[in-house]
Amino acid sequence: MPSGSSESTHSAKPSDGASREGDTVASCGALRRLGRNLLDTPRQFRDSLVRHGRPTSDRAASQAVFHNLFLHILPTRIHRYSLRIRATLGLGVITLALFFLLVITGVALMVYYKPSPEHAYNSMKEIHNVVPTGRFMRNIHRWAAHGMVLCVILHMARAFYTAAYRRPRQFNWVVGMLLFILTFTLSFTGYLLPWDQLAFWAVTIGSEIAQSPREVTDALGITSWCDIGGLQKQLLLGANHVGPEALIRFYVLHVMVLPVLMCILLALHFWRIRKDGGLTRPADVDEETPQRPAGDKDMGGPTANISKTYGLMAVVRGRTPAVDRSLVNTIPTYPNAFYAIAALSMFTFFVMLCLGHLFDAPLTERANPAVPENPAKAPWYFLGLQELVSYSAFAGGVGVPAIVMLGLMLVPYLDRETTDTGVWFGGPKGKRVCLASAVLTIVVVVGMLTFTVNVGWLRNWLPDIPQIVITLINPGSVMLAIFCAWSLIITKRTNSTRMGALAVFTCFLFAFAILTYFAMVHRGPNWDFFWSQSDWPSH
């Protein structure tokens, strides 16, 4: 047992005490003992808290990780490559740090927030104005929420571009996708809670999207007995309009259901990282094994013994730190990874605290169902979808995103190549494919937007066209089809599923970015095109 030595020290202590007990006189000894114990309590408490001493060797360091509930989510040893910035960009850690920050500030805000339409807005005002540091807390919560959405997207892109979804990590990629959706949902449910105009109308847009399957059922003429859209909206809002029922639903989802799900899935996500052999790294990374300096005793050398030891500690699949020479390139998680994670988390906190001091979170007028916002815009991460929704609610709000999400989840099962795992873009060829895909996406999306803004879409030429045709053929579905076709072409030409996956992912990512930008900046009242907000009509 690796922890045998420390446990034996622990077990030795009670026997020490027992022997002292025998030595002392019973009458006055108990009181003296009590006094001595009292004096000795701090040290005893520390020993009981941290069951091992200061880690002076690699082994002790591994035990430090292994024996700690909070640290044991980390492996005891970590590959040297994984600590490089370029391996992960630290995005997972930043996301997790933001989630921690959101939980802490969120709980603080919950103390003062009242989830009812009469009081919600006022309680926000109270948080802003009189709750001690309330505004600061809310600012941090708001900016951290936006930051987390952004980091989740970037984290996913990193995982994708380094092919981290491959065997044995396919399922963890799926878990990651679920976390991605969960993050969006958490952010969206939190959006309604301030009960201001911004929140109210953004959620109204969201609920319209939830209702959009009705577009299809209407076209098929089956809405009367199979109203999926209406049901979804009812489930979301608990009423026909955004009101008290919707608020309490969003509140429960935001503060309880979704965070609990999030924690469970996060635990699963981290656990799978360990079980799937740690972070992805290029196959050839161990070829550049550094020379061990003379006199380094700690490592003990790459012997069969050690590989056995680690095999007991962590039953892992595939290539593990414990086999072959990769062991040479592992270093103890504590202190190497531990301090990196701690420093990066603290840096994230620092940035968020700065933002909290510098920028106030928006709080517009109290929600007023009688005064629609024009334009009513969804939260920024849904704006790309809203742009597609403006052509067809179902295709933009449900169809296209569902296909994209499903497609991305399937990627690990479709791309089963094994070469260049852990290499950014899979090498120079992949870089070229990504670059070409980016250029293609910019041309297609900008072209499509220019076309629809200047010329219009089917409805403009054929006013009597059935809606189902537009549901099927709209800018969103056309772009999706182009991207899929492009991906297939790339797959065929490069004879590589990996290249096809890179192509389609790059297309999605850039299309998302461009559509989001376009809807954020160039869409004005009535969802008309404007070069800038200063050109908006005044009425």
Partner: protein, 699 residues
Amino acid sequence: MYESDKSRVAWLKALLLLFSAACIALLLLAAFKENFTAPWRAYQARYAELLAEQAQAAGTAERDYPIEIRQAFLAEWGRVDRCVTCHVGIDNPAFKEQPQPLAAHSGDILKYHPADKFGCTICHQGQGRATDKDAAHGNVPHWNEPLLAGDFVQATCAKCHRDDEVPQAPILSRGRLLLRELGCVGCHRTGNVVAREKAGPQLDSIGSKVSQRWLIKWLTDPKDYLPKGKMPHYDLSPDAVSALAAYLMTFQNDSIEDSPLREGDYDEGATVYREAQCIVCHVTKLDYAENPVGGEIGPNLLKIGNKINQRWLFAFLKNPHSFLPYTKMPGYHFSDKEALDLSQFAVEEWVDYDLLDAEEKEPEPPSGTPEQIRQGKALYAELGCGACHRLGDEQTKPTGPDLTFIGSTPVHLLPFGDADVRHTVPDFLYTKLKSPKALHYESAKMPDFHLSDEDAKALTIALMSLSEVGAPSRRFEVPKRPKIIFNPKDEFGRLERHYRCLSCHKIRDSGELLASDLTLEGNRVNREWLYHYMNKPYSMRRTLTIAMPIFHFPDDESRLMADYMAHVFVDSRLGAAWRLIRDQAVPQRGKALFDAKGCIACHQLHGTGGDVGPSLTTQVPEFPHGTWVGDKLKGEWIYPWLKNPQALLPESIEPNLGLSDQEAIDLTAYLLTLKNPEFQKPAIQKSKVQKDAEPQEKK
């Protein structure tokens, strides 16, 4: 561990330390900002300091003044007003002279609107929950109720004071009056502000009334022709004006068109003009400084000579109410000759030299083509002329935006365009009212009223008061005072409607206060005097230029009106006190008091004395009997009047001398002795009204 690992861990530790320290610093900064930097803490500290100084000066013990957030919680209004967190001295009379934010509230408004019940933002608007200046004053984005500056605070009185007229908010009341009088309510819905009749004249016989030349000039720019007129400037093209004029000229009155053209006597007309006291209501001449002289109740007559069709004027003078049912113009008993002479006087006296010039130089404008008439009709509807003018049976709908809740409209919904004004609702309204086309598109329909700054402000305040934000419960509402509309169905009512007494006199809540209030006329004057006065009115004040027109009432009418007023316009409670104690009066003591108090400084007695108040011994040639105060007034009026003139007539400038009861009855008794020995009570026949009233009095 390798050396490289060691040094990296050292670096990471250093970074961790650095960022941890930075985070702690930022958290401490938040705590510091929270506890030390808020400006309201400084204000309260200053307040505490001043309190301590005052306590020291007064020699009283200093009291500890805690520095904390202070607020008024208004449960019913759903508001929390923390204004007092900075404005701590608001209810401390000793801080009247302090600069803001420590100053005490001006006036005694807090006495009637206790802060614990009304807070601050109910009246002043702003954001009560905020604790920093800009946010609290509402001068931040996304707050729709910015602090109301100065007089604009009157707009919020309307939340509770539902009456059209709020005496404590004169500008609001004036604005609401203007909303009605300028015809705003014709084009816009304005909630509970509604008009009884349209703001402009009826146009049914306009084609017979005015010349087409005048009409074109008028429609082109009414404000140029008549700066004080109500008609706004529409900025129409010459073609549009011609079309509109052509359309309107088609509305003719056949009986006028068929009547013969006759000529009257100018000089005789001048006499009629003087007796009828036209000048009381109309501007009819210019003084030496070219300022218009005359009343503003009726239209300005200075230039009507070349506007009006004399045959129409004749018919109008004979029976004004058949042309303009809602006019304030009284019905006179003009004979055909008098009416003809007066119309002759009018067209010769009040010449419009511009139009005269045009008449001589330019050919008569051609009568409209059918196409023009059709265009004019469309234009009439498009411009919403029907909002202010009646024309046939045409029904009109409001053509302008609904303003029922304009005061609480979110500011971003208002069409400011590129106009360089502050984006607030009052700024929008004021700018729009001052120059309707300035704000946004050129095609704005609203015409230009050429409002003065005061009127635009009053209207802005009245519009601001049209808000969705009202009192939370009836408990706060000051109910509308029920208006006693004087409109009896009896013979007196018929006479009133004919002579339009209410155009100048007030009876209960109806009418205007241009002349005396008749509500208590029966308490005030003797019936005999009234009868004489109706026959031959005169002015008791030499300084007054206006007087009652001479109507030449038939004898039975003046008798009936005198009796009616003497017996109906009475409050029996008013005379009770006087009747109880009048026996104890000593007129001699009253005379001494009259001399001692210096009444003669303002009132004339036997030809000596001041001109400020009415003469007590009037002698006028038109009224050979003369009337002295003892002949005219009743003791039951003089007594309470001397005690407190403003209780009976709030506008009166008569000083309240603070007389004791005894002094007042002595003085009253003395004044009642001032009777003209020449004055003979005519044995007038009792009218039906008096016969009915007498037995009641005995009861």
